[in-house]
């Protein structure tokens, strides 16, 4: 039984059919990536999984429970964390308070303290800015905060939406290094990326989305060698 199973997912935004029958699964301990162009439906897939949008058809199963149509806060309570696109940090809260929001549902102060310490070890730059308003952080720092906040929730499954979006190449390197180390610690990750090169490098399994449909799936290493994928997403001619 896979940790997360998505089957036949359909999402409509008004008259727009954004996802058409998307089916895939994420095994415990794996890093799975969804790659694809702008508007392919990657973010929508994550939003449908975490309950931010209601799918019109299909089902999502997490830890063997059907979570389709559940409100986001209940899904999150099952052990899923979603670091949304555009970081979604609370700019009106301090960095420290943002991290505390990540642990909103946790009732074990000792565990929270431990995980917070660990997250801050991964992102020392965040640790320096604990009492600053989160809105004053740079883009890269905000992304780090978003990931750190998701980690404080101690999720079984971490959904990462475009962690490299709009960041300098050096920061992108750093972020992916940390994603890899999070995965190495046993957290299952579903990663959505436009930066296919980096994503395929980190992931075990990859799925390619095109206008709302999964067109190719397979082990990431294999897809990285696939000529069509290389041409379309890796910029290799």
């Amino acid at each position: 039984m896979a940790l997360l199973e998505v089957s036949g997912l359909d999402v409509h935004y008004g008259g727009i059919h954004a996802l058409k029958g998307v089916t895939f699964s994420v095994e415990q301990g794996q890093v799975v990536t969804l790659i694809g162009a702008n508007g392919a439906g990657k973010t929508t897939t994550l939003r449908a999984i975490s309950g931010l949008v209601k799918p019109s058809k299909g089902s999502v199963t997490f830890k063997g429970r059907t979570i389709t149509g559940m409100p986001a806060h209940q899904i999150v309570a099952l052990g899923l964390a979603h670091a949304p696109e555009g970081r979604g940090i609370f700019a009106n809260l301090t960095v420290d308070e943002n991290l505390q929001m990540g642990a909103y549902l946790r009732r074990d102060p000792a565990g929270v303290a431990k995980d917070t310490r660990h997250a801050l070890e991964l992102f020392p730059r965040i640790a320096e800015r604990l009492h600053q308003n989160a809105g004053t952080l740079s883009g890269g720092e905000q992304q780090m905060l978003a990931i750190a906040r998701a980690l404080v929730a101690k999720p079984t499954l971490l959904l990462l939406d475009e962690p490299s979006l709009g960041l300098a190449p050096q920061i992108v390197q750093l972020i992916f290094k940390i994603v890899r180390s999070i995965a190495a610690e046993g957290t299952t990750i579903l990663l959505v990326e436009q930066n296919a090169h980096q994503a395929l490098n980190v992931a075990h399994t990859a799925h390619v989305l095109e206008v709302g449909t999964l067109v190719t799936s397979g082990p990431a290493a294999e897809l990285a060698r696939d000529d069509k994928i290389r041409k379309a997403y890796l910029g290799v001619h």
Partner: protein
Amino acid sequence: MTTFLQTLVNSIGLGSLYALTALGYTLVYGVLRFINFAHSDVFTVGAWASFTLASAFGWAATGSPWFAMPLVLLLAMAVCAALGIAIEFLAYRPLRKAPRLNVLITAIGVSLFLQNVGQLKWVFGTQPQPMPPLLEDSSLAEVAGVQIRVIDVVVVVLTVFLLMLLEFLIYRTRLGRAMRAVSFDEKVASLMGINVNRIITLTFGIGSALAAAGGLFYALKYTGLKQPADATWVLLGLKAFVAAVVGGIGNVRGAVAGALLIAFVEMFGAQYLSPHMRDLYVFVILIAVLMFKPSGLFGKAVVEKV
């Protein structure tokens, strides 16, 4: 000099009363980003509910027991909290994703509804009523010719206490953090595991309870209770609203500061310029503030999302 000091004392008393109501506006705006037009009517219901409760307990005559005021206060707060929560659930929740204009019109609808249902003869009726004196209406002290009334002292103490309580709630507790998170971004807040609807319900409850406190003390201070749809209530709610806006809506301390400012301007204007124009000063301030600093004196400018 005595006149000056007396006016000062009176304005602090009046300002505290405005502040109790302004806090409700500001709280709701803080989480939902909309102006709850019906808030002033919840305030009215607070005053009338206090009256009904006090009459039902038979305290219409003088000499009510010492616990009368706290008891009526708590009950009225409970009634209004329930009312506020019901309003949110029935009228505003279905419009959570609707354009702001629709929410605004709905709020006006709710306000009209409360005013006019309150006027029905089997609710509060259209007759003005005398509020039972739950607090001894006397001068507590006289300092240099300045009268300090009991009611004003109680209102000021209570307002300061409630303000501190709110500040603590918002900036020091888990619930407060959740409220601020919801205020910034509902969707991301729900990703943190926050039940957004519950937070909004709680906020409405707290705001409406504060309005009830304002209503009770207003009724105790100005004991002739006007009918629920009287223009006085609308004006009063408006002034509290103006206070919230002037102070920077969404900002708790700003609401109190704005309320005091409004009261100062109103009282001093009435004392030294013309007593007939007191309502005018308030609106002139509002328009001036909105023209030159739309985010209010203590508010932060919010960039509209495109």
